[in-house]
Amino acid sequence: MPITISSLCKRFGDLVVFKDLNLTFQDQAVTAVLGPSGCGKTTLLNIISGVEDKEAGTILGTDKRKISYLFQEPRLLPWKNVYANVEFLLLDIMSPEERKLRVEHFLKLVSLNEFSHYYPHTLSGGMKQRVSMARAFAYPADILLMDEPFQALDLRLKIGLAKSFNMLFLEEERTAVFVTHDIHEALMLGDEIVVFSQRPGEVRDRIINPVPRRERSLSNELLLKIEKRLYTLLR
């Protein structure tokens, strides 16, 4: 089921974040919401997850569906090793045998199976974020919300993480909403790219990514063309 947002309004005091936002997030696809800082991207995620109230409008397709999250920081528990960090969210919902299979499977997908006994402080920033991705995907959910999960990392790491993400996503397709101000991230991950305007956030353009997930790379001719177009839209 897609997530459909209609006539969404949201204000913080005098600050109008959304006036009349209409937007659909396709099922089993990643929608990248690309926009300048302060255009209400994080607020949008918070409204979808229910952390933030909306003022008016409707959101369909989130009821009774499980949501997993990827945050700006990896949010690992420092006292748990890699394995236990991925397992942690499954403690309440799965038997130990099920958990073991799932954790091992997803750690393998992000190539961290050899590091399962390492503690977070011994890992690099990119590895931590990969653990956090494995955790988000190991948690069984229909919806995945991501708030600039690669923002603190350099370009080379970002590309590596985007590849890991694509591996995971091909394994477990979800309705994924991904907010970012980074054009490269949007191109690598998004099946659809929605460009937001400055506040109040409105949809300026929607671009369908023509390159299949497996073949995406930043040197791809088609993606380079879209990159140019996104630059002019964001300027």
């Binding site: 997850s49 952390v51 949501i67 997993s68 999250y69 945050f71 920081e73 949010r75 528990l77 420092p78 006292w79 748990k80 090793n81 942690f88 969210l89 403690l91 309440d92 503690y119 977070p120 402080h121 948690y139």
Partner: protein
């Protein structure tokens, strides 16, 4: 002349000799055992109460507001006043336990409260978003976050516990106690024996502190 000098400050040889005599004496081991038991009893009660009150106080501001004035009164109260009052109220064997509780509990409590205030809000937010159960949050986020603060509290709390337990024993005079031995040696002007008992008390304190610190260092997630 030599005799009076030995009373004021006995020579190291005599002190060491007395120390080993003390170790082989009939009274020493029951006294040491009883002191350790009293200290640990008071200390475990302090830990249990400190953890429960500390976590509750850290999470529920109203409970914290309720308990804080009591802690604020207990903390600056002279140890001697506590001992003298306890002597009036309790059986001699229990006096040191009560005193060590009153001294160690505020330390453990403050450290646990401090630990709760340092729990990473982002981890709590994540736990909420994923709808984790209360016990999962308690045992997998709160308690591990608090552990280093709690262990630091234990370390300073236990050090002071031995001191006040022995002080309370000196005044309460239970049948078997380091403090009782110390007092008896003092009354007989056996200064070397006073030193010997003191040495035993120091050893007790050092051994417990060292073993606690080694636990603290072994926490796997500590950086250095």
């Amino acid at each position: 002349m030599l005799l009076s000098a030995e009373i004021i400050l006995p020579s190291p040889e005599i002190t060491v000799l007395r120390f080993f005599e003390l170790l082989s004496s009939r009274d020493f081991w029951p006294a040491l055992g009883a002191t350790i038991l009293r200290g640990l009893a008071g200390f475990f009660i302090s830990c249990a109460a400190g953890i429960i009150c500390g976590i509750t106080g850290g999470l529920k501001p109203r409970f914290n507001a309720f308990i804080k004035p009591y802690i604020a009164i207990i903390k600056p109260t002279p140890v001697m006043s506590v001992i003298l009052l306890a002597l009036i109220w309790f059986k001699t064997d229990n006096v040191p336990i009560f005193v060590s509780f009153l001294i160690a509990f505020p330390i453990i409590f403050s450290n646990v409260i401090e630990g709760v205030s340092h729990v990473d809000g982002k981890l709590i937010e994540m736990a909420k978003l994923y709808g984790l159960k209360r016990n999962t949050k308690l045992f997998h986020i709160y308690i591990p976050s608090i552990t280093p603060y709690f262990l630091a509290g234990i370390s300073s709390g236990l050090g002071i516990t031995w001191k006040v337990v022995i002080a309370a024993e000196v005044l309460a005079q239970p049948l078997h106690a380091l403090g009782t031995g110390l007092q008896a040696a003092k009354i007989q002007l056996e200064t070397a024996e006073v030193f010997a008992w003191t040495g035993a008390a120091i050893l007790l304190s050092v051994v417990t502190e060292k073993s606690l610190n080694s636990i603290l260092r072994r926490l796997p997630w500590r950086d250095s």
